[in-house]
Symmetry: C2
Subunit: 355 residues, 2 copies
């Protein structure tokens, strides 16, 4: 047993699984690194975090996670550069957002040092798990859930915070075709759509399955009241390029304040691209598709990075997007991944060295 | 190991905890009976259900329940009559609703016979756990959650269905004071509010905490678009009596189709009470409170049974409800509990004998 800074104990696995992994053919989030960080909250306080072998969790059947959806998470990536340096991208933004989610879900906020030092310790222990294959990275999943017991619909008295990692390839394989939703909704005004709450994701699965059956990959959610405004795509925020202007919806209590989203806005402005953060109507997008001024649509998120949309469907009609030689999506993806993988200038100070 | 009908195996506990329970002083849902029913779904099908000792569940940290809120539940009660007979109340309604919830959350539907025979077998094994103290019952919690693994935001490939039980006293102790919500919301149009999805409950905890800090027990949710219409209270549907008319909101995709709610409507009609199922505005309730025509408000649900509301708050003003000698709430609560505990006539055929 080693003891790290901030009293993080480390118990290393006796049987690494790393030899069983084909790092050249990684899917997304389906193989898991050898270790995880665990920290328990009970009696009103967080205990000492520890790095332990990735292993099953034991919970009572009455644990509130099973009944009341009290769970939140974050998505991050660790990137390895050509010299073996290990980097994170704006990790303090994830730390802050985890606590924004925690507050809305009536869960305890996690001290910043447990998050940051826990993450650094875990990545040090599992550094061999960070892929160096192009387009791959170590997907990092910090999450917190209600481990306290009871069938009373009220917040739990105990929680578990875990960081687990999965070496991963791209989230989408190939082009992304989306359906603009007319009937179902992701989030309510005054609800939890801005939080990375577990329940937000389960609510999207059925409408997404219906879209997949029609040949789409993802749903673009619209506001639940009128279905006239474009919001986000669940796993990514949405950008629309009309003529040479790049537009995305403002964040609100229904839309996740995506870290990739706001980074893209800053990079675009830095590139001299005109950006607008404003409400986008479905009608405006349809009209732009019809008159040829709709040049691009893409999704942006930690898992999705920058994912160009090749076509969208709305009211049983498909609209194809042009294939551009020099797209904003390609330019912005290169800029952001060059920062992430330590291949380019980091003028915004977003890169965070771990090792 | 015994084998019951439908091949339900039964493994009895070697150490019953029943002697440790004070059946005269039961809180709600905090002590758990000796056994539980478990049934696993994998490879596209449900396996054989079994009754086993109530025990911890082991899950991988990547199990989707921790990340994506894929969980649903039901709430039921078993009642013991004076002769020791054991009864359920409209259990097939819970079975149907579980599958309505399952479909919306992209989870597999559970065959009716597993639910019904599993429940009967479990209650037979744990029949000594059904309280006979007045106002108490065995609260039954059927639930299903995503046990399959992966960090990809998509439905799991494995699920666990469990029925666990908790001998329970009343859900509310004393009078219930509610706050009509003006800012936060429980459910979106086109969302999952009609389902008993875990995430619906976590989303209510923080606004409810804010209300509790102001001295209220529960929040009455209003529509997320205008906050002008009364919807439900999260743990119960809401009834309003104006003059001699009993009114409740129609169910829709934001409001749970409560079994107690619809039973109350039938009993009220049978009692010759005029009932209306229609939208109720907050303004109408405030005006009725001011002119004295608001006679009663109460909540109705399996856990809450019929819970009279003594006062409600709205925009920083509290409105007290009169104390009536012969309230609809008292009448309807007596009628429904007389059916449930086999004390009265069951003209609707709602009672279901288990033992």
């Amino acid at each position: 047993m080693e003891v790290k800074s901030n009293n993080i104990t480390v118990e290393r696995t006796k049987r690494s699984k790393i030899d069983q992994v084909d790092f050249d053919n990684l899917s997304f989030g389906s193989v898991f690194a050898d270790h995880m960080l665990v920290c328990d909250y009970k009696n009103g306080e967080w205990g000492a975090p520890s790095v332990v072998p990735y292993q099953p969790i034991e919970l009572e059947p009455s644990a509130k996670i099973f009944h009341y959806g009290q769970s939140i998470f974050e998505g991050m990536k660790a990137y390895k550069d050509d010299q073996g340096g290990v980097w994170l991208f704006r990790p303090e933004e994830n730390q802050k957002r985890l606590n924004i989610s925690a507050k809305r879900l009536a869960m305890p906020e996690l001290p910043k040092e447990i998050f940051m030092e826990g993450l650094a310790t875990l990545l040090q222990v599992d550094q061999e798990w960070i892929p160096q294959t192009k387009g791959s990275s170590l997907y990092i999943r910090p999450f917190m859930f209600a481990s306290g017991n009871g069938f009373h619909a009220s917040p739990a008295d105990a929680y578990k915070f875990i960081i687990a990692c999965a070496p991963s390839g791209p989230y989408f394989s190939g082009k992304v075709k989306v359906l603009i939703e007319e009937r179902y909704s992701r989030a309510a005004n005054g609800g939890v759509g801005f939080a990375k709450a577990g329940g937000n994701y389960a609510a999207q699965f059925y409408p997404t399955q219906l879209a997949v059956q029609k040949g789409y990959n993802q749903v673009i959610w619209t506001d639940d009241n009128t279905h006239e405004y474009i919001e986000e795509a669940g796993a990514m925020n949405i950008f629309v390029r009309i003529n040479d202007t790049l537009i995305t919806a403002p964040t609100n209590d229904r839309i996740l304040d995506g870290i990739t989203r706001k980074s893209i806005l800053d990079i675009a402005a830095d590139e001299g691209i005109e950006t607008e953060v404003r409400k986008i109507t479905v009608a405006e997008v349809i009209n732009a598709a019809k008159d040829g001024s709709l040049k691009e649509m893409f999704g942006a998120g930690t898992a999705a990075v920058v994912s160009p949309i090749s076509a969208f469907g709305y009211k049983e009609v498909d609209y194809n997007l042009p294939e551009l030689d020099q797209s904003y999506a390609a330019l912005l993806k290169k800029r952001i991944t060059d920062i992430q993988y330590n291949r380019g200038d980091d003028k915004f100070g977003w890169r965070y060295r771990v090792l």
